[in-house]
């Protein structure tokens, strides 16, 4: 239950309230969401769902998408619908934002909020990882830090995200989601990004939600790709350990992630002309 609300007028004020134990409130679709409360109570320590104080970032100037050449900067309070609509962004990132099943949520949810909520089935985080995105943040002391999306997620950081920096939005990238229906929670949320130079694969980035506590990089698959090995399904099925739940059994989840992500890898390689 939210017991206190403050609308921050400046970054400094937001930090000041953070130090007083307030959580950041961006769009609010996670903080206010009943399902999220249920989920966080069960699955993480990230959120003390029973008593929460929030500082709203709404008034801060943290919105907007800018692109210079291949580089893209996305303000942390940019709405997911704006990302889905932006012609400055790649089809894969726009698609990832569009995976949020309803327009009402996309109109409210922000990219920074989505990363901060750190959902295991986030659609945005795998794609940002595939692009090698880095997050420009303020830590609790107000120091500006630049962290990778992976570190932010895996270390459950609570820095105030200011901006998402994507170094190269033009790399081949394929993002996938698999769910039983429009509204259903996803059993697969993954993204594949390939850095190719002169027709040679230099770096493979494959990230997946739904198979671990957080979105993770699938390093075994990345290595296999970089080494030119095939048999992606097998690599995947032996390297992921999803838990069975209401969405399906462990075996089903392992299988569906393996085939859907393997197909995404092949599609991405095709896009990269590899």
């Amino acid at each position: 239950m939210i017991t206190a609300f403050h609308l921050a007028e400046s970054l400094e004020e937001a930090l000041e309230y953070r130090r007083k134990g307030y959580d950041y409130l961006a769009g609010g679709t996670q903080v206010n969401n009943g399902a999220f409360h249920e989920w966080t109570k069960k699955s993480t320590k990230h959120w003390d769902g029973d008593s929460v104080k929030v500082v709203s970032l709404e008034s801060l100037d943290l919105q907007g998408i800018s692109r210079e050449g291949k580089q893209v900067h996305i303000g942390s309070l940019t709405r997911l619908q704006d990302i889905a609509d932006s012609e400055d962004l790649s089809p894969a990132l726009r698609k990832a934002a569009g995976f949020i099943p309803t327009r009402n949520i996309r109109n409210l949810a922000t990219i920074g909020g989505n990363i901060g909520a750190n959902r295991r089935d986030s659609y945005i985080i795998p794609t940002l990882m595939a692009y090698g995105a880095r997050l420009e943040c303020l830590d609790e002391q107000g120091a500006k830090v630049l962290v990778s999306c992976e570190d932010y997620v895996s270390q459950e950081m609570k820095h105030l995200i200011l901006k998402v920096r994507i170094p190269d939005i033009t790399i081949p990238c394929v993002t996938v989601k698999e769910s039983r229906s429009q509204l259903a929670l996803a059993v697969v949320s993954a993204s594949v990004g390939l850095v190719v130079e002169k027709g040679i694969l230099k770096e493979a980035r494959v990230a997946a939600g739904c198979v671990s506590k957080h979105v993770i990089r699938l390093t075994a698959l990345e290595r296999a790709l970089e080494m030119g090995r095939e048999g992606y399904e097998e690599v995947l099925s032996t390297s992921i350990s999803p838990n069975g739940d209401i969405l399906g059994s462990t075996e089903y989840k392992r299988y569906i992630n393996s085939v859907v992500i393997a197909d995404a890898v092949r599609a991405c390689k095709e896009e990269a002309a590899l």
Partner: protein, 966 residues
Amino acid sequence: VKIQFILNGKSVEHEVLPAESAQVVLQRMGIHSVRNSDDSFGFAGSDTILLDGRTVGANILLAAQLQGRKVETVESLKNGRELGIIQQSMLDAGCVQSGYNSPAAALMIHDLLKRNPRPEKKDIEDALSSMFNRSNGYRQFFDAVALAAARLEDSGKKVDTVPSYAKNLELIGKPKVKKDAQRMVAGEAVFVEDRRTVNSCVLRVLRSPHAHAWIKSIDTSAAEAVDGVVAVFTHKDVPQKVYSQAGQGFPEPSPYDRMLISRKVRHVGDRVAAVVAENDAAAAQALDAIKVEYDVLDPVLDWDAAQAEGAVLVHNGEIEYIAGAPEDLKAINKDTDRQEEPVLYQFPIGGDPRKNIAASVSGGIGDLEKGFKEADAVVERTFETTQIQCTPLEKHTSLARVEGDRLIIHASTQVPYHLRRIVATLLDLPENKVRVIKERVGGGYGSKQDILIDDLVAFAAWKTGREVYQQYTRKEEFIGCSTRKPMRITVKLGAKKDGKLTGMYMKVESNQGAYGAHALTVPMNGVSKSLPLFLCENSAFDVIAYYSNRPPTGAYQGYGAPKANYALQVAAKELAEAIGMEHYEFVEKNRVREGSMLEILKILGEGREGKAAPAESCGLGECMKQGAEMIEWGKKVESSDPNIKIGKGFATIQQGSGLPGLDMANATLKMLGDGSFVLQSGGADIGTGLDLVCAKMAAEVLKIDMELIHVDSGDTDIAPFDTGAYASSGTYFSGGAARNAALKMVEKIKKEAAAILECKAEELEILPGGIVKGGSAGKKKQEMSFQKLAWHTQSGEGSGQIVATASFTTEHFSFPYGAHFAQVAVNTRTGKVTVQKYYALQDAGIPVNPEYALGQVYGGVVKSIGHSLYEEMKFDTAGRCLTTDLRSYGVPMIGDIPEDFEARLIETDDPYGPFGAKSIAEISVNGAAAALANAIHDATGLWLRSWPFSPQKILEELGTIKAQRR
């Protein structure tokens, strides 16, 4: 927190709590149109507002976040009393039925057309992606958007997507916007929640965490001490009597096996205590303060556990009968537990609670064994269906208050008169001390046929003298409500090589859950609304409903038919393959036809003695023919993707039109002083357009403009008795009563006019426009307007206001029929099933309200596609439901509807239905499971004998992954 924002163009200030949602605050500010369907889970859309010009959910938004923002609600779309173009287009396309989130849909379309004046299909899907719609299946929203877009360019654009029927009638079969739809899309205060006053108390229920337990002790003292708490009730405080929540005609074929609050809890979510408090916060604090000690018992969760040797008994109280008690009742009751409340049967329905059997029945015609011996092939297959929930957009809501010595209940109910009787009986009041006012109902689908919430709210109001209000949470909808019964159905069929069916047997075992509502009639209805689709001389059935410690089950649209028909229709296809006959040909050879005598009805009385009856009108053949043409039956479709397998399937369906010999409807028609009329109908319009049906019936008979008929329904003080909106009875019974009242009114008009015109009544006729004309032979014909007649009859020398009351009862059956065709694409790599085409062809007699009839077909189909593919109440081994919100449960949204989706009404003229009409809505859920299963078989060769057809199940059946134990 003090906030200031712009609301519909005006600057407003408001004090809010940090935790309050924008939806709660907007409601408090008098904005009724922003509603709550899913408690800030963010996926129902009823709470949609425009925030700085974008659609968002107000439930998921803190009120404090409105600071400095611009908020628009549906109230901004109309100009005075005049609706906006989008709202009017939604009305004309027939989109507004139960209407709970129609204002939200109007805002979404408004936003879409502002961004994109000429949207394509995908744009419409995106714009409406936030809207959960249960009543009319999304399909007509595409028509509404197209119409609105056209009208924004040309305001004179007429609706051209709604067909008309009944050429020889003026009003029946023609599109006409229903009155309540106009109010709902405008966002008016029409639902129970809108009747709440500032002084009302809230009622909240402490629910059992255990599936089966005795309450050893309960201490409410700390709860009672909470500031703002008015009363706390436990099993010690409630009437010590058993009753049934089933809203069925008295005497009910359901056991009286529950108390308002019992000392024994029988499912997770069962009532333990009720708190009445001045506000939500006090109620919540009080619930937390109640101390309960449980003596936990082993739960019984399925039919196998229920019938196992030495099984724990869900109901172990004394068994009693009002009539027809068995001679050995004393012996049966020998070891019962006197601490437990009794199980009272009004009459025998085959119940044996000592074996966890709530009800059972068996029957047969012909010689089944002989039939199977004659067969060249026999198939015997067992099917299973899961527990699913009605999920009305408007959660169960009730408001009760005391006026002098009377109890007034504002209810969202399908059965106002049963509600009155049940509450009056429970509280030992004569029925005239209880008034039920049925408000508009934001979706019922069967779950509002039972008295699931009004019983406790009424009791609390009567005890405290306060206005008491309760609205379920979405979670309570799943654990404290009524759901579709899981069933295990065994079908055995035999046929000769020439296709002739020689034997049909069906065994239905249902998992009744904790209490016995509809225990006999739902599974029996499964038999009676499926087997008669095929003509077979040798048929038999067994039905057994087992008690368990699952959340209670009850009525849901289709009743037992969707499940039993799924089993029968898939088994029929299997049998056709076994004898080497094409499926369509096999069904065509054995199907019911117009004039067929349905001998099997002799043994399918559903609570009364059955009798054989003919299928007087039957459009099934035409439904099959047109459906086969539409889907190009027999033409194989291939995909270029080797993983995608495409197949086609179909199923025939039927339902009834009310319960002949059991149901009863009444209506009173009053002529007012200017010749206009008020029709007081007992019918319960739950958003389906029943009031409009009744108005059309009366206006067609009286040959007057429909604006001259006002329908007043759903108030038990005002309108005469009606059994209610269930069993597909609305058009047939309530509509029939309206027609009969109008016919009687015509007789009275002629009689009164004859006296004034000095002629014989039989010489007079009613002319269009409210004129009665005629005269004696040789005299010049005279005429008189209804207005003039009313003036005469209501003057000081008149004979009195002309009032006509009539009832409708019948012994005649009128069966609606249909055939549903589906084309699916099965991805054999992922297990996902995509419904590419779905054609629903239904014979509803003469369709009275075509746009609403079609909407109900679309709604029924999408519901049943949801049941077949996505929806599922999942339980853990302790009986806890794990899917208690709309998203995890899996309701279908606009992105899930078939890519090509069309409903067609096949016109027939039923000899017994009013103006040839039969029922339309309920039958629509009976086809999808079988049509999809048969299509999946055509695509993949798999026989799916349990729903839902999840990707995991498909992959398991394909052998791609190992099957899990279920």
